[in-house]
Amino acid sequence: MTTSLTLATAPVVRRWRPRPGAIVGALMLGAVLLLTAIVPLLPGFDPMGQDLRAALLPPFADPAHPLGTDALGRDLLSRLALASAVTLGMTVLIVIMNAVLGSLIGILAGYYGGRLEALITLVSNVTLAMPVVLLLIAICAVLRPSAGLTILVLGCTWWVGYARVTRNIAAALRRQDFVVSPLTQGADSVWVLTRHIVPNVWPHTLIIAATDVATIVLITSSLEYLGLGVQPPVPSWGSMIFDGQRHLAGDPWLALLPGLMMLLAVGGVQFLSQQFTAETRGGLLRKGGMR
Protein backbone atom coordinates (compact mmCIF):
# COMPACT_ATOMS: atom_id res chain seq x y z
CA MET A 1 0.00 0.00 0.00
CA THR A 2 2.46 2.52 1.18
CA THR A 3 5.05 1.33 -1.23
CA SER A 4 2.77 1.56 -4.18
CA LEU A 5 1.85 5.01 -3.07
CA THR A 6 5.39 6.19 -2.75
CA LEU A 7 6.48 4.58 -5.97
CA ALA A 8 3.60 5.98 -7.91
CA THR A 9 4.28 9.46 -6.67
CA ALA A 10 7.92 9.03 -7.49
CA PRO A 11 9.10 12.21 -9.05
CA VAL A 12 10.38 11.26 -12.44
CA VAL A 13 12.67 13.42 -14.41
CA ARG A 14 10.46 15.53 -16.49
CA ARG A 15 10.72 18.66 -18.43
CA TRP A 16 11.42 21.63 -16.23
CA ARG A 17 8.26 23.62 -16.18
CA PRO A 18 8.11 25.79 -13.09
CA ARG A 19 4.79 25.97 -11.35
CA PRO A 20 3.51 29.27 -10.00
CA GLY A 21 4.02 28.17 -6.40
CA ALA A 22 7.58 27.27 -7.15
CA ILE A 23 8.29 30.64 -8.68
CA VAL A 24 6.91 32.41 -5.65
CA GLY A 25 8.90 30.07 -3.45
CA ALA A 26 12.09 30.74 -5.35
CA LEU A 27 11.51 34.47 -5.06
CA MET A 28 10.89 34.24 -1.32
CA LEU A 29 13.91 32.12 -0.65
CA GLY A 30 15.95 34.14 -3.10
CA ALA A 31 15.18 37.33 -1.19
CA VAL A 32 16.53 35.83 2.01
CA LEU A 33 19.61 34.39 0.36
CA LEU A 34 20.27 37.67 -1.39
CA LEU A 35 20.07 39.54 1.88
CA THR A 36 22.36 37.01 3.48
CA ALA A 37 24.86 37.33 0.71
CA ILE A 38 24.77 41.05 0.04
CA VAL A 39 24.51 42.68 3.44
CA PRO A 40 27.90 41.50 4.69
CA LEU A 41 29.44 43.27 1.73
CA LEU A 42 27.86 46.59 2.64
CA PRO A 43 30.06 49.14 4.45
CA GLY A 44 27.83 49.38 7.56
CA PHE A 45 27.90 45.64 8.25
CA ASP A 46 28.53 45.16 11.94
CA PRO A 47 26.34 42.55 13.60
CA MET A 48 28.18 42.66 16.92
CA GLY A 49 28.95 46.33 17.53
CA GLN A 50 26.93 47.59 20.47
CA ASP A 51 25.86 51.06 21.30
CA LEU A 52 23.53 51.10 24.26
CA ARG A 53 22.81 54.75 23.67
CA ALA A 54 21.48 54.04 20.22
CA ALA A 55 19.38 51.10 21.31
CA LEU A 56 15.97 50.29 19.92
CA LEU A 57 16.09 52.68 16.99
CA PRO A 58 13.06 52.11 14.78
CA PRO A 59 13.55 51.16 11.13
CA PHE A 60 14.38 53.93 8.65
CA ALA A 61 15.11 56.39 11.42
CA ASP A 62 18.86 56.42 11.07
CA PRO A 63 20.61 55.93 7.74
CA ALA A 64 23.42 54.11 9.54
CA HIS A 65 20.91 51.52 10.71
CA PRO A 66 18.39 51.08 7.90
CA LEU A 67 16.29 48.59 9.83
CA GLY A 68 16.98 50.09 13.23
CA THR A 69 18.80 48.58 16.19
CA ASP A 70 18.12 46.02 18.87
CA ALA A 71 18.12 46.39 22.63
CA LEU A 72 21.91 46.52 22.69
CA GLY A 73 22.03 49.06 19.90
CA ARG A 74 23.29 46.59 17.34
CA ASP A 75 22.49 47.08 13.69
CA LEU A 76 19.42 44.99 12.93
CA LEU A 77 20.05 44.62 9.23
CA SER A 78 23.51 43.21 9.86
CA ARG A 79 22.21 40.90 12.51
CA LEU A 80 19.38 39.71 10.29
CA ALA A 81 21.85 38.84 7.57
CA LEU A 82 24.16 37.03 9.94
CA ALA A 83 21.26 35.28 11.66
CA SER A 84 19.96 34.10 8.30
CA ALA A 85 23.33 32.70 7.41
CA VAL A 86 23.69 31.02 10.79
CA THR A 87 20.21 29.59 10.97
CA LEU A 88 20.10 28.45 7.38
CA GLY A 89 23.57 27.02 7.68
CA MET A 90 22.65 25.08 10.79
CA THR A 91 19.40 23.94 9.33
CA VAL A 92 20.95 22.77 6.11
CA LEU A 93 23.62 20.90 8.01
CA ILE A 94 21.10 19.23 10.27
CA VAL A 95 18.81 18.38 7.40
CA ILE A 96 21.66 16.97 5.35
CA MET A 97 22.93 14.91 8.25
CA ASN A 98 19.52 13.45 8.89
CA ALA A 99 18.74 12.94 5.26
CA VAL A 100 21.99 11.11 4.69
CA LEU A 101 21.80 9.11 7.88
CA GLY A 102 18.11 8.30 7.56
CA SER A 103 18.29 7.41 3.90
CA LEU A 104 21.31 5.24 4.49
CA ILE A 105 19.64 3.41 7.32
CA GLY A 106 16.37 3.14 5.41
CA ILE A 107 18.02 1.90 2.26
CA LEU A 108 20.04 -0.72 4.07
CA ALA A 109 16.99 -1.84 6.03
CA GLY A 110 14.84 -1.99 2.92
CA TYR A 111 17.45 -3.63 0.76
CA TYR A 112 18.68 -6.25 3.17
CA GLY A 113 15.58 -6.68 5.34
CA GLY A 114 15.56 -9.36 8.01
CA ARG A 115 17.42 -8.90 11.27
CA LEU A 116 19.00 -5.65 10.25
CA GLU A 117 15.57 -4.24 9.61
CA ALA A 118 14.28 -5.44 12.97
CA LEU A 119 17.20 -3.79 14.71
CA ILE A 120 16.65 -0.57 12.85
CA THR A 121 12.98 -0.60 13.73
CA LEU A 122 13.90 -0.86 17.38
CA VAL A 123 16.46 1.91 17.17
CA SER A 124 14.05 4.22 15.41
CA ASN A 125 11.36 3.45 17.95
CA VAL A 126 13.68 4.36 20.76
CA THR A 127 14.74 7.50 18.92
CA LEU A 128 11.13 8.53 18.49
CA ALA A 129 10.13 7.66 22.01
CA MET A 130 12.94 9.76 23.46
CA PRO A 131 11.98 13.42 23.20
CA VAL A 132 14.77 15.30 21.41
CA VAL A 133 14.43 18.34 23.59
CA LEU A 134 15.02 16.33 26.74
CA LEU A 135 17.99 14.67 25.18
CA LEU A 136 19.45 17.97 24.19
CA ILE A 137 18.91 19.56 27.57
CA ALA A 138 20.56 16.62 29.22
CA ILE A 139 23.50 16.64 26.86
CA CYS A 140 23.90 20.39 27.16
CA ALA A 141 24.00 19.97 30.90
CA VAL A 142 27.08 17.85 30.46
CA LEU A 143 28.71 19.62 27.60
CA ARG A 144 28.50 23.28 26.83
CA PRO A 145 25.50 24.20 24.74
CA SER A 146 26.66 25.32 21.36
CA ALA A 147 25.51 25.43 17.80
CA GLY A 148 27.74 22.47 17.07
CA LEU A 149 26.15 20.38 19.78
CA THR A 150 22.67 21.23 18.59
CA ILE A 151 23.62 20.29 15.07
CA LEU A 152 25.10 17.04 16.28
CA VAL A 153 22.19 16.03 18.46
CA LEU A 154 19.44 17.10 16.06
CA GLY A 155 21.47 15.78 13.19
CA CYS A 156 21.46 12.33 14.69
CA THR A 157 17.93 12.09 16.00
CA TRP A 158 15.62 13.37 13.33
CA TRP A 159 16.26 10.70 10.75
CA VAL A 160 13.43 8.31 11.41
CA GLY A 161 11.10 9.89 8.88
CA TYR A 162 13.69 9.52 6.16
CA ALA A 163 14.45 5.97 7.19
CA ARG A 164 10.81 4.97 7.06
CA VAL A 165 10.12 6.36 3.64
CA THR A 166 13.37 5.24 2.07
CA ARG A 167 13.01 1.80 3.62
CA ASN A 168 9.68 1.34 1.87
CA ILE A 169 11.01 2.56 -1.43
CA ALA A 170 14.17 0.51 -1.21
CA ALA A 171 12.18 -2.59 -0.33
CA ALA A 172 9.93 -1.98 -3.33
CA LEU A 173 12.86 -1.23 -5.59
CA ARG A 174 14.61 -4.35 -4.48
CA ARG A 175 11.93 -6.37 -6.22
CA GLN A 176 12.06 -4.34 -9.40
CA ASP A 177 13.55 -6.06 -12.38
CA PHE A 178 15.93 -3.24 -13.13
CA VAL A 179 17.53 -3.70 -9.74
CA VAL A 180 17.79 -7.46 -10.11
CA SER A 181 19.12 -7.20 -13.62
CA PRO A 182 22.62 -5.84 -12.85
CA LEU A 183 23.04 -8.58 -10.27
CA THR A 184 22.56 -11.17 -12.96
CA GLN A 185 25.16 -9.36 -15.00
CA GLY A 186 27.88 -9.73 -12.44
CA ALA A 187 27.37 -6.57 -10.38
CA ASP A 188 27.52 -6.66 -6.60
CA SER A 189 25.18 -5.09 -4.06
CA VAL A 190 27.31 -1.97 -3.81
CA TRP A 191 26.85 -1.38 -7.51
CA VAL A 192 23.11 -1.82 -7.28
CA LEU A 193 22.84 0.31 -4.18
CA THR A 194 24.86 3.17 -5.54
CA ARG A 195 23.66 3.16 -9.13
CA HIS A 196 20.04 2.18 -8.84
CA ILE A 197 18.70 2.34 -5.33
CA VAL A 198 20.27 5.58 -4.17
CA PRO A 199 19.51 7.57 -7.34
CA ASN A 200 15.91 6.42 -7.22
CA VAL A 201 15.57 7.12 -3.54
CA TRP A 202 17.16 10.51 -3.16
CA PRO A 203 14.45 12.53 -4.87
CA HIS A 204 12.10 11.31 -2.15
CA THR A 205 14.68 12.20 0.43
CA LEU A 206 14.85 15.62 -1.13
CA ILE A 207 11.13 16.13 -0.77
CA ILE A 208 11.15 15.17 2.89
CA ALA A 209 14.19 17.34 3.37
CA ALA A 210 12.40 20.32 1.90
CA THR A 211 9.53 20.01 4.33
CA ASP A 212 11.99 19.23 7.08
CA VAL A 213 13.78 22.53 6.57
CA ALA A 214 10.72 24.19 8.00
CA THR A 215 10.51 21.81 10.92
CA ILE A 216 14.17 22.10 11.76
CA VAL A 217 14.17 25.88 11.64
CA LEU A 218 11.23 25.82 14.04
CA ILE A 219 12.84 23.26 16.32
CA THR A 220 16.16 25.03 16.48
CA SER A 221 14.41 28.28 17.26
CA SER A 222 12.44 26.63 20.02
CA LEU A 223 15.72 25.32 21.36
CA GLU A 224 17.20 28.81 21.32
CA TYR A 225 14.45 29.65 23.74
CA LEU A 226 15.81 27.08 26.15
CA GLY A 227 19.30 28.46 25.65
CA LEU A 228 20.37 25.47 23.59
CA GLY A 229 21.89 26.36 20.31
CA VAL A 230 23.70 29.26 18.82
CA GLN A 231 25.27 31.19 21.65
CA PRO A 232 25.11 34.97 21.97
CA PRO A 233 26.28 37.28 20.70
CA VAL A 234 25.93 35.37 17.44
CA PRO A 235 22.33 35.85 16.35
CA SER A 236 19.91 33.34 14.94
CA TRP A 237 16.33 33.80 13.84
CA GLY A 238 15.06 31.95 16.85
CA SER A 239 17.00 33.96 19.38
CA MET A 240 16.19 37.20 17.60
CA ILE A 241 12.48 36.42 17.69
CA PHE A 242 12.66 35.45 21.34
CA ASP A 243 14.60 38.52 22.28
CA GLY A 244 12.32 40.65 20.18
CA GLN A 245 9.24 39.09 21.70
CA ARG A 246 9.98 40.98 24.89
CA HIS A 247 9.62 44.20 22.99
CA LEU A 248 6.61 43.15 21.00
CA ALA A 249 4.37 45.86 22.38
CA GLY A 250 6.73 48.79 22.01
CA ASP A 251 9.13 47.80 19.26
CA PRO A 252 7.42 45.02 17.35
CA TRP A 253 9.85 45.04 14.42
CA LEU A 254 12.46 43.37 16.59
CA ALA A 255 10.47 40.16 16.50
CA LEU A 256 8.61 40.70 13.27
CA LEU A 257 11.63 41.22 11.02
CA PRO A 258 13.34 37.93 11.89
CA GLY A 259 9.88 36.37 11.83
CA LEU A 260 9.44 37.68 8.32
CA MET A 261 12.81 36.27 7.32
CA MET A 262 11.81 32.91 8.66
CA LEU A 263 8.47 33.13 6.90
CA LEU A 264 10.15 33.93 3.62
CA ALA A 265 12.75 31.22 3.86
CA VAL A 266 10.64 28.44 5.28
CA GLY A 267 7.62 29.27 3.17
CA GLY A 268 9.87 29.66 0.16
CA VAL A 269 11.35 26.23 0.62
CA GLN A 270 7.91 24.74 1.01
CA PHE A 271 6.53 26.34 -2.10
CA LEU A 272 9.65 25.40 -3.96
CA SER A 273 9.37 21.82 -2.88
CA GLN A 274 5.94 21.63 -4.48
CA GLN A 275 7.80 21.73 -7.76
CA PHE A 276 9.16 18.31 -7.04
CA THR A 277 6.09 16.63 -5.68
CA ALA A 278 4.16 14.59 -8.15
CA GLU A 279 1.61 16.40 -10.19
CA THR A 280 -1.60 15.67 -8.39
CA ARG A 281 -3.64 13.64 -10.78
CA GLY A 282 -7.17 14.65 -10.11
CA GLY A 283 -8.32 11.31 -11.44
CA LEU A 284 -11.95 10.90 -12.29
CA LEU A 285 -13.34 12.89 -9.50
CA ARG A 286 -12.76 16.26 -11.03
CA LYS A 287 -15.37 16.11 -13.67
CA GLY A 288 -19.08 16.09 -13.41
CA GLY A 289 -21.24 15.36 -16.40
CA MET A 290 -20.20 15.19 -20.00
CA ARG A 291 -18.70 18.58 -20.37
Binding site: L5, P131, A141, I241, F242, A255, L284, L285
Partner: protein, 324 residues
Protein backbone atom coordinates in the same frame (compact mmCIF):
# COMPACT_ATOMS: atom_id res chain seq x y z
CA UNK B 1 -13.73 -25.65 -15.46
CA UNK B 2 -10.08 -25.63 -14.51
CA UNK B 3 -8.03 -25.19 -11.49
CA UNK B 4 -8.61 -21.54 -10.73
CA UNK B 5 -11.80 -22.18 -8.88
CA UNK B 6 -10.62 -25.31 -7.22
CA UNK B 7 -7.62 -23.78 -5.58
CA UNK B 8 -7.88 -23.57 -1.82
CA UNK B 9 -8.90 -20.26 -0.36
CA UNK B 10 -5.69 -18.30 -0.07
CA UNK B 11 -5.31 -16.87 3.40
CA UNK B 12 -7.99 -16.18 5.92
CA UNK B 13 -10.00 -13.07 6.53
CA UNK B 14 -9.53 -13.16 10.26
CA UNK B 15 -6.14 -13.99 11.72
CA UNK B 16 -5.87 -17.08 13.84
CA UNK B 17 -5.39 -17.05 17.60
CA UNK B 18 -1.76 -18.01 17.12
CA UNK B 19 -1.19 -15.06 14.85
CA UNK B 20 -2.74 -12.72 17.35
CA UNK B 21 -0.66 -14.12 20.19
CA UNK B 22 2.48 -13.82 18.11
CA UNK B 23 1.58 -10.25 17.27
CA UNK B 24 0.99 -9.41 20.91
CA UNK B 25 4.22 -11.09 21.95
CA UNK B 26 6.21 -9.19 19.34
CA UNK B 27 4.63 -5.93 20.37
CA UNK B 28 5.30 -6.58 24.02
CA UNK B 29 8.91 -7.39 23.31
CA UNK B 30 9.26 -4.22 21.29
CA UNK B 31 7.59 -2.18 24.02
CA UNK B 32 9.77 -3.63 26.74
CA UNK B 33 12.98 -3.13 24.78
CA UNK B 34 11.99 0.39 23.83
CA UNK B 35 11.19 1.37 27.40
CA UNK B 36 14.32 -0.30 28.65
CA UNK B 37 16.47 1.48 26.11
CA UNK B 38 14.88 4.83 26.87
CA UNK B 39 15.32 4.35 30.60
CA UNK B 40 18.92 3.32 30.13
CA UNK B 41 19.73 6.30 27.96
CA UNK B 42 18.03 8.53 30.49
CA UNK B 43 19.99 6.96 33.29
CA UNK B 44 23.31 7.37 31.58
CA UNK B 45 22.60 10.97 30.63
CA UNK B 46 21.21 11.64 34.06
CA UNK B 47 24.30 10.42 35.82
CA UNK B 48 26.42 12.39 33.43
CA UNK B 49 24.59 15.62 34.14
CA UNK B 50 25.67 15.69 37.73
CA UNK B 51 24.19 15.31 41.14
CA UNK B 52 21.17 17.39 42.05
CA UNK B 53 21.95 18.23 45.66
CA UNK B 54 23.36 21.66 44.93
CA UNK B 55 20.21 22.60 43.07
CA UNK B 56 17.94 21.63 45.90
CA UNK B 57 19.47 23.62 48.70
CA UNK B 58 19.45 27.37 49.15
CA UNK B 59 22.45 29.49 48.19
CA UNK B 60 24.00 29.47 51.59
CA UNK B 61 24.02 25.73 52.05
CA UNK B 62 27.52 24.41 52.56
CA UNK B 63 29.31 21.80 50.53
CA UNK B 64 28.88 19.40 53.42
CA UNK B 65 25.12 19.89 53.38
CA UNK B 66 25.09 19.25 49.68
CA UNK B 67 27.17 16.13 50.06
CA UNK B 68 24.88 14.89 52.77
CA UNK B 69 21.85 15.46 50.60
CA UNK B 70 23.40 13.75 47.60
CA UNK B 71 24.29 10.70 49.58
CA UNK B 72 20.89 10.59 51.23
CA UNK B 73 19.46 10.54 47.71
CA UNK B 74 21.63 7.54 47.01
CA UNK B 75 24.19 9.09 44.73
CA UNK B 76 27.08 7.70 46.68
CA UNK B 77 26.21 4.13 45.77
CA UNK B 78 28.00 2.38 42.93
CA UNK B 79 26.55 3.23 39.52
CA UNK B 80 25.53 -0.34 38.86
CA UNK B 81 23.52 -0.47 42.06
CA UNK B 82 21.83 2.79 41.14
CA UNK B 83 21.03 1.44 37.71
CA UNK B 84 19.61 -1.79 39.06
CA UNK B 85 17.61 0.24 41.51
CA UNK B 86 16.19 2.22 38.63
CA UNK B 87 15.27 -0.98 36.83
CA UNK B 88 13.62 -2.41 39.92
CA UNK B 89 11.70 0.83 40.23
CA UNK B 90 10.68 0.45 36.61
CA UNK B 91 9.30 -3.01 37.23
CA UNK B 92 7.53 -2.20 40.47
CA UNK B 93 6.26 1.11 39.17
CA UNK B 94 7.98 2.89 42.03
CA UNK B 95 10.24 5.56 40.66
CA UNK B 96 10.84 7.12 44.01
CA UNK B 97 10.00 10.61 45.19
CA UNK B 98 10.81 13.68 43.20
CA UNK B 99 13.90 15.26 44.69
CA UNK B 100 12.51 18.72 44.45
CA UNK B 101 8.84 18.28 45.11
CA UNK B 102 9.29 15.45 47.57
CA UNK B 103 6.28 13.63 46.27
CA UNK B 104 5.90 10.40 44.39
CA UNK B 105 7.39 10.99 40.95
CA UNK B 106 4.90 8.69 39.31
CA UNK B 107 2.09 10.52 41.04
CA UNK B 108 3.36 13.84 39.75
CA UNK B 109 3.66 12.51 36.24
CA UNK B 110 0.22 10.95 36.33
CA UNK B 111 -1.16 14.20 37.66
CA UNK B 112 0.02 15.92 34.49
CA UNK B 113 -1.05 13.20 32.12
CA UNK B 114 -4.70 14.23 31.79
CA UNK B 115 -3.70 17.76 30.79
CA UNK B 116 -1.29 16.43 28.21
CA UNK B 117 -3.70 13.90 26.83
CA UNK B 118 -6.42 16.51 26.69
CA UNK B 119 -4.24 18.86 24.69
CA UNK B 120 -2.76 16.18 22.45
CA UNK B 121 -6.09 14.53 21.88
CA UNK B 122 -7.98 17.62 20.88
CA UNK B 123 -5.17 18.99 18.79
CA UNK B 124 -4.89 15.66 17.05
CA UNK B 125 -8.59 15.07 16.57
CA UNK B 126 -9.40 18.58 15.44
CA UNK B 127 -6.35 18.78 13.20
CA UNK B 128 -7.08 15.44 11.61
CA UNK B 129 -10.81 16.02 11.34
CA UNK B 130 -10.38 19.40 9.71
CA UNK B 131 -7.78 17.97 7.38
CA UNK B 132 -10.14 15.19 6.36
CA UNK B 133 -12.94 17.65 5.77
CA UNK B 134 -10.71 19.98 3.78
CA UNK B 135 -9.16 17.19 1.75
CA UNK B 136 -12.57 15.75 0.94
CA UNK B 137 -13.89 19.15 -0.03
CA UNK B 138 -10.96 19.68 -2.32
CA UNK B 139 -11.57 16.33 -3.94
CA UNK B 140 -15.31 16.77 -4.21
CA UNK B 141 -15.26 20.23 -5.67
CA UNK B 142 -12.09 19.52 -7.60
CA UNK B 143 -11.34 23.16 -7.04
CA UNK B 144 -7.79 24.13 -7.84
CA UNK B 145 -8.39 27.47 -6.19
CA UNK B 146 -9.42 25.88 -2.94
CA UNK B 147 -6.44 23.57 -2.98
CA UNK B 148 -4.16 26.50 -3.67
CA UNK B 149 -5.65 28.63 -0.90
CA UNK B 150 -5.45 25.87 1.67
CA UNK B 151 -1.96 24.98 0.50
CA UNK B 152 -0.71 28.52 0.79
CA UNK B 153 -2.30 29.08 4.14
CA UNK B 154 -0.72 25.87 5.32
CA UNK B 155 2.69 26.88 4.09
CA UNK B 156 2.34 30.19 5.92
CA UNK B 157 1.28 28.53 9.13
CA UNK B 158 4.21 26.20 8.95
CA UNK B 159 6.55 29.12 8.50
CA UNK B 160 5.66 30.57 11.87
CA UNK B 161 7.11 28.83 14.89
CA UNK B 162 4.60 27.54 17.40
CA UNK B 163 5.73 29.87 20.15
CA UNK B 164 5.29 32.90 17.95
CA UNK B 165 1.99 31.74 16.56
CA UNK B 166 0.76 31.10 20.08
CA UNK B 167 1.85 34.55 21.14
CA UNK B 168 0.02 36.14 18.24
CA UNK B 169 -3.11 34.20 19.12
CA UNK B 170 -2.85 35.41 22.69
CA UNK B 171 -2.33 38.99 21.60
CA UNK B 172 -5.39 38.92 19.37
CA UNK B 173 -7.84 36.77 21.27
CA UNK B 174 -6.88 37.44 24.86
CA UNK B 175 -5.28 40.84 25.06
CA UNK B 176 -7.03 42.64 22.24
CA UNK B 177 -10.44 40.99 22.20
CA UNK B 178 -10.42 39.65 25.74
CA UNK B 179 -12.38 36.72 24.44
CA UNK B 180 -10.30 33.84 25.71
CA UNK B 181 -8.09 33.19 28.71
CA UNK B 182 -4.42 33.51 27.87
CA UNK B 183 -3.11 30.88 30.23
CA UNK B 184 -3.84 28.13 32.65
CA UNK B 185 -6.14 25.18 32.52
CA UNK B 186 -9.20 26.41 34.25
CA UNK B 187 -12.08 26.07 31.85
CA UNK B 188 -12.90 24.71 28.46
CA UNK B 189 -12.25 28.16 27.10
CA UNK B 190 -8.65 27.91 28.18
CA UNK B 191 -8.28 24.91 25.91
CA UNK B 192 -9.06 26.92 22.82
CA UNK B 193 -5.83 28.77 22.19
CA UNK B 194 -3.33 26.00 22.96
CA UNK B 195 -5.38 23.55 20.96
CA UNK B 196 -5.66 26.05 18.13
CA UNK B 197 -1.90 26.48 18.09
CA UNK B 198 -1.22 22.78 17.88
CA UNK B 199 -4.20 21.79 15.77
CA UNK B 200 -3.37 24.23 12.99
CA UNK B 201 0.05 22.66 12.70
CA UNK B 202 -1.44 19.18 12.72
CA UNK B 203 -4.05 20.23 10.22
CA UNK B 204 -1.50 21.38 7.71
CA UNK B 205 0.51 18.20 8.04
CA UNK B 206 -2.43 15.86 7.67
CA UNK B 207 -3.98 17.86 4.89
CA UNK B 208 -0.82 17.49 2.84
CA UNK B 209 -0.63 13.78 3.43
CA UNK B 210 -4.31 13.19 2.82
CA UNK B 211 -4.53 15.32 -0.27
CA UNK B 212 -1.61 13.46 -1.81
CA UNK B 213 -3.07 10.10 -0.82
CA UNK B 214 -6.54 10.95 -2.10
CA UNK B 215 -5.22 12.29 -5.38
CA UNK B 216 -3.30 9.07 -5.69
CA UNK B 217 -6.45 7.05 -5.09
CA UNK B 218 -8.47 9.16 -7.50
CA UNK B 219 -6.39 7.77 -10.32
CA UNK B 220 -6.93 4.17 -9.29
CA UNK B 221 -8.94 1.84 -11.48
CA UNK B 222 -11.33 0.79 -8.77
CA UNK B 223 -12.57 4.35 -8.57
CA UNK B 224 -13.35 4.27 -12.26
CA UNK B 225 -15.08 0.95 -11.75
CA UNK B 226 -17.31 2.38 -9.07
CA UNK B 227 -18.16 5.47 -11.09
CA UNK B 228 -18.91 3.32 -14.10
CA UNK B 229 -21.43 1.45 -11.98
CA UNK B 230 -23.30 4.65 -11.45
CA UNK B 231 -22.12 5.34 -7.92
CA UNK B 232 -22.16 8.90 -6.74
CA UNK B 233 -18.78 10.54 -6.76
CA UNK B 234 -19.26 11.52 -3.14
CA UNK B 235 -20.14 7.95 -2.18
CA UNK B 236 -17.04 6.69 -3.92
CA UNK B 237 -14.99 9.31 -2.18
CA UNK B 238 -16.28 8.52 1.27
CA UNK B 239 -16.62 4.77 1.15
CA UNK B 240 -13.83 3.76 -1.19
CA UNK B 241 -11.13 6.35 -1.57
CA UNK B 242 -11.04 7.63 1.97
CA UNK B 243 -10.38 4.27 3.65
CA UNK B 244 -7.69 3.55 1.09
CA UNK B 245 -6.11 6.95 1.47
CA UNK B 246 -6.24 6.98 5.23
CA UNK B 247 -4.12 3.87 5.66
CA UNK B 248 -0.76 5.49 4.91
CA UNK B 249 -1.81 8.61 6.80
CA UNK B 250 -2.62 6.59 9.89
CA UNK B 251 0.95 5.39 10.18
CA UNK B 252 2.17 8.96 10.29
CA UNK B 253 -0.58 9.89 12.69
CA UNK B 254 0.55 7.21 15.09
CA UNK B 255 4.09 8.50 15.18
CA UNK B 256 2.87 12.00 15.52
CA UNK B 257 0.33 11.40 18.27
CA UNK B 258 2.99 9.47 20.12
CA UNK B 259 5.18 12.56 19.86
CA UNK B 260 2.41 14.87 21.00
CA UNK B 261 1.84 12.77 24.08
CA UNK B 262 5.49 13.28 24.93
CA UNK B 263 4.48 16.81 25.65
CA UNK B 264 4.54 19.98 23.69
CA UNK B 265 6.88 22.03 25.75
CA UNK B 266 6.66 25.27 23.86
CA UNK B 267 2.89 25.48 23.94
CA UNK B 268 2.85 24.43 27.56
CA UNK B 269 5.26 27.21 28.44
CA UNK B 270 3.41 29.92 26.55
CA UNK B 271 0.02 28.97 27.94
CA UNK B 272 1.26 27.86 31.36
CA UNK B 273 -0.45 24.60 30.54
CA UNK B 274 0.26 22.06 33.24
CA UNK B 275 1.39 19.33 30.90
CA UNK B 276 3.97 16.66 30.91
CA UNK B 277 6.41 18.39 28.58
CA UNK B 278 7.14 21.27 30.93
CA UNK B 279 7.35 18.97 33.92
CA UNK B 280 9.84 16.79 32.10
CA UNK B 281 12.04 19.54 30.71
CA UNK B 282 12.12 21.18 34.12
CA UNK B 283 12.90 17.87 35.71
CA UNK B 284 15.76 17.24 33.31
CA UNK B 285 17.33 20.61 33.92
CA UNK B 286 16.79 20.31 37.65
CA UNK B 287 18.23 16.78 37.65
CA UNK B 288 15.05 15.51 39.18
CA UNK B 289 15.70 12.01 37.93
CA UNK B 290 12.73 10.18 39.44
CA UNK B 291 10.39 12.42 37.46
CA UNK B 292 12.51 12.08 34.35
CA UNK B 293 12.44 8.31 34.59
CA UNK B 294 8.75 8.08 35.33
CA UNK B 295 7.92 10.59 32.62
CA UNK B 296 10.03 8.93 29.99
CA UNK B 297 8.54 5.57 30.75
CA UNK B 298 5.12 7.07 30.28
CA UNK B 299 6.13 8.76 27.03
CA UNK B 300 7.73 5.60 25.67
CA UNK B 301 4.76 3.50 26.66
CA UNK B 302 2.32 6.00 25.19
CA UNK B 303 4.31 5.94 22.02
CA UNK B 304 4.37 2.17 21.81
CA UNK B 305 0.70 1.83 22.70
CA UNK B 306 -0.48 4.43 20.23
CA UNK B 307 1.54 2.87 17.47
CA UNK B 308 0.37 -0.59 18.31
CA UNK B 309 -3.18 0.67 18.23
CA UNK B 310 -2.55 2.23 14.85
CA UNK B 311 -1.04 -1.02 13.62
CA UNK B 312 -4.06 -2.95 14.77
CA UNK B 313 -6.32 -0.42 13.14
CA UNK B 314 -4.42 -0.57 9.88
CA UNK B 315 -4.50 -4.34 9.96
CA UNK B 316 -8.22 -4.20 10.44
CA UNK B 317 -8.73 -1.79 7.58
CA UNK B 318 -6.23 -3.45 5.32
CA UNK B 319 -6.12 -7.17 5.82
CA UNK B 320 -3.40 -7.51 3.22
CA UNK B 321 -0.85 -6.20 5.67
CA UNK B 322 -2.09 -8.67 8.24
CA UNK B 323 -1.50 -11.53 5.85
CA UNK B 324 2.04 -10.42 5.14
Amino acid sequence: MTSVLHQPLPGRASPSVGDVLLFIARRLALAVTTVLAVVTIAFVLGRATGEPGALLLPDNATQADIQALNSSLGFDRPLLVQYLDTLVGLVTGDFGDSYRLRESALGLVLERVPATIELAFWAFVIGLALAVVAALTIQLTGSRVLRAIVGWAGALRQSVPDFFFALLLVLVFSVLLGALPSLGRTSYASLVLPVATLATGQFVMYLRLLDAALSEQAGQDYVRTAIAQGQRRSTVLFTRMLPNAIVPVLGMAGLNLGGLLGGTVVVEVVFAWPGLGKLLTDAVSQRDFPIVQAGLVFVALAFVIVNTAVDVLVRRIDTRTAAA
